[in-house]
């Protein structure tokens, strides 16, 4: 049994950077990666704004050194890039020296290819190799292969927009229980017509830059991203004399049990998730220095989440909080992972990233997100992720074990 769950490496790719350093640079410069869509041909292109990763699929294939006949979906491609960065950042050269697993998260899986060739598959065999890469587990299998993880515990979680937070949670539990010595955790979701149209029918896509926690918020920007963390047991950290970036200190998952897509008015599930995470961490609300909120900028989420935060912390005692989704969009199943990376960057650099685009205070409560880059000694960061199916997850990161 390992007491601590150390984070020894991380990797990220998003609309504001192709690696962790570029992401950090954009975060501190308040540089958002939201624009008109360029890589998907959709009739909604003039009505929505998205966060796209700069690389095209062929550029990603080239970086990974894949042969032309490969059948990686974009989810697999960006996932492999971020996971490899995490491994390199952790200084791992022999992945199988310790019992190493991989827990990834995705909601889209290989839908990007399926939606391109759905009927074409029946007519010609040119792209049929992608049929078998549609299912959600495929991108994870590909990432495992890229990392050289074999004969091990590899799995995928899909609980909509809380997926990657749950992957981190499961990874931490596997380390604590001694099932694994090391586990790569995170998530990957690429942009797809399927999700664009899905969120469009729900009428929660903003036609301009998203404005989390703003009274006049109009909905979310979709984004694509992948991010992974390397979690290691105390024993591995000691044996390898590892540089520790932070710890997974607490986690909680709860279900809102209210509605398939909407959050309850008072954020019952979110409140429970935050409370559970505090309990696992052995913290009280006072111990949290910064909350990286889910903050999708939909009418429903920000109200429900804000109320839940007030329930947990008390309206007068809410620590600095911000949503970083205005930078990169809502990256769905990857959100919990990329925001974990941002949370750890916040801890490492003692800095709180601003909640961009905010203008008007919400009238339902008096809490206001952090609007400017703020330097503050941070010991702990709480990260929230909520999804369809009432799924609510909170992870707490700390500097000390």
């Amino acid at each position: 049994m390992s007491k601590g769950v150390a984070i020894t490496g991380m990797g990220a790719i998003s609309a504001i950077g192709n690696n962790v350093a570029e992401n950090f640079q954009s975060l501190v410069e308040s540089k958002k990666g939201i624009s008109k869509i360029s890589k998907i041909d959709t009739i909604h292109k003039d009505d929505i704004m998205v966060g796209e990763i700069a690389y095209t699929n062929s550029e990603l294939e080239e970086i990974l050194g894949l042969s032309p006949g490969n059948n990686y979906s974009r989810t697999g491609l960006i996932g492999a890039i971020a996971a490899k960065e995490a491994i390199a950042n952790s200084g791992i050269t022999n992945i199988n020296k310790y019992k190493t697993g991989l827990i990834s998260a995705t909601s889209v899986g290989g839908m990007d290819m399926t939606e391109q060739y759905y009927y074409n598959y029946l007519e010609t065999d040119t792209n049929r190799r992608y049929i078998a890469s549609h299912h959600a587990g495929d991108s994870t299998q590909k990432i495992a292969e890229q990392l050289g993880i074999a004969k091990s515990l590899v799995t995928t979680i899909s609980t909509a927009c809380s997926s990657a937070a749950n992957a981190i949670m499961l990874g931490a539990r596997l380390i604590k229980s001694g099932q694994l010595d090391r586990v790569i955790v995170g998530g990957s979701d690429c942009m797809s017509k399927f999700t664009i149209n899905g969120f469009k029918t729900l009428m929660i896509l903003s036609d301009t830059y998203s404005t989390p926690f703003d009274e006049n918020r109009k909905g979310l920007n979709l984004g694509e991203a992948a991010a992974f963390l390397v979690l290691e047991s105390d024993a591995v950290v000691k044996a390898e004399n590892k540089n520790v970036l932070g710890y997974v200190k607490g986690y909680g998952n709860a279900n809102d049990a209210f509605h398939q897509t909407a959050s309850s008015d008072h954020g019952d599930g979110a409140t429970l998730a935050m409370e559970k995470a505090l309990k696992v961490a052995g913290y009280t609300a006072k111990d949290i220095d910064y909350i990286n909120a889910h903050g999708t900028a939909t009418g429903n989420n920000d109200l429900s989440e804000g109320r839940a935060i007030i329930r947990v912390f008390g309206e007068e005692n809410v620590p600095e909080f911000s949503s970083t989704k205005a930078y990169i969009g809502h990256t769905l199943a990857a959100a919990g992972a990329i925001e974990a990376v941002y949370s750890i960057l916040a801890l490492q650099n003692n800095v709180i990233f601003p909640n961009l685009n905010f203008k008007t205070q919400m009238k339902e409560f008096n809490i206001t997100p952090e609007l400017k880059l703020k330097e503050k000694e941070l010991k702990t960061v709480m990260s929230n992720s909520f999804g369809f199916g009432g799924n609510c997850s909170t992870v707490i990161f700390s500097k000390e074990p």
Binding site: A136, A150, K151, T159, L202, D268
Partner: protein
Amino acid sequence: MKKVYINSISSITPQKTFDNSEFLDEVIIHENQVIFAVEPKYKDYIPPAAARRMAKGIKMGVVASKLSLQEAGLEQVDAVITGTGMGCLRDSEKFLGAIINNNEQYLTPTSFIQSTHNTVGGQIALELQCKGYNFTYVHGSNSFESGLLDAKLQLELDEAQNILVGGVDELGDHTTKLNQIIHHVKEENISSLDVLSSKTKGAVFGEGASFFVLSNKKQASSYAEIISVKMYNTLAQNELSETALHFLKENSLKAEDIDAVVLGNNGDIEFDGYYNLLTSGIFSNTQQVCYKHLIGEFNTASPFGLWIASKILKTQTLPEVIKKNNIKTSSFKYILLYNMYRGENHSFTLLKSC
């Protein structure tokens, strides 16, 4: 660490398996390469208005979970964990088809909402008003086993006392067609009785939903104790026997200690070699049990293997139709399950009578 028990089982498959008072007493001989689930009367469990909005997979999942709760004598659980390889396929196909056919216009959200992989898990939480832990695993043939391992960890550490764990996958017409053109589905019509000896490529595709209440408290209805679950993303054929023996050794057992092996072979000549290695090798003198000829192949077919193993251990009987060989077994104490799909995502599950 607490012991983990299977306190109830329920399975909806292309056989009439949802009535636990029977154990494959009557078998349906399917003659097709795509076989559909025999459905219970949904209206006995789901209000008709709600049922109309639900695709088959959601209905099967919700009903299987209710049957399982009923048998365990529970009204609530601490957590709901679901596995699904393909998610809510029919809604995904419906929404994607509409996007393409109507050029992204005139779409309604229902099928998108229900296409989300965790719809069944979320729906169960909603029905039960269960605010506890709710995870959905989507990792091919290890989707269900991931949930099993997760539940086992929580129960062993007493973080939860009763957990609903299940697996569900439904057939979708277009996806089936796609799997046919790449020969993952058999080309020929074939009888259930001939599938496993077919010597042809591909599998018969099926669908179903299974749910179990796992608990760290044994009760009268308990079927078996879950000793261990282990997954492997890759495994070469030449590593399989050694890995199986190592798995048993970790649990202080030898091949001879196993009273039955429940195998996931599906009659695909390309991949059944894995299973044949075990049946002609380390388990050649062990009672061998197969089930996919009856229900077909799908990512969450393996929980039906767990249903069978649970039944064998509780009733100490073994129906002829699932015997691959005939070994005189005086009693069933330990059962090992092995499953994989197309050479990937292998799992061993070890059960003990209780």
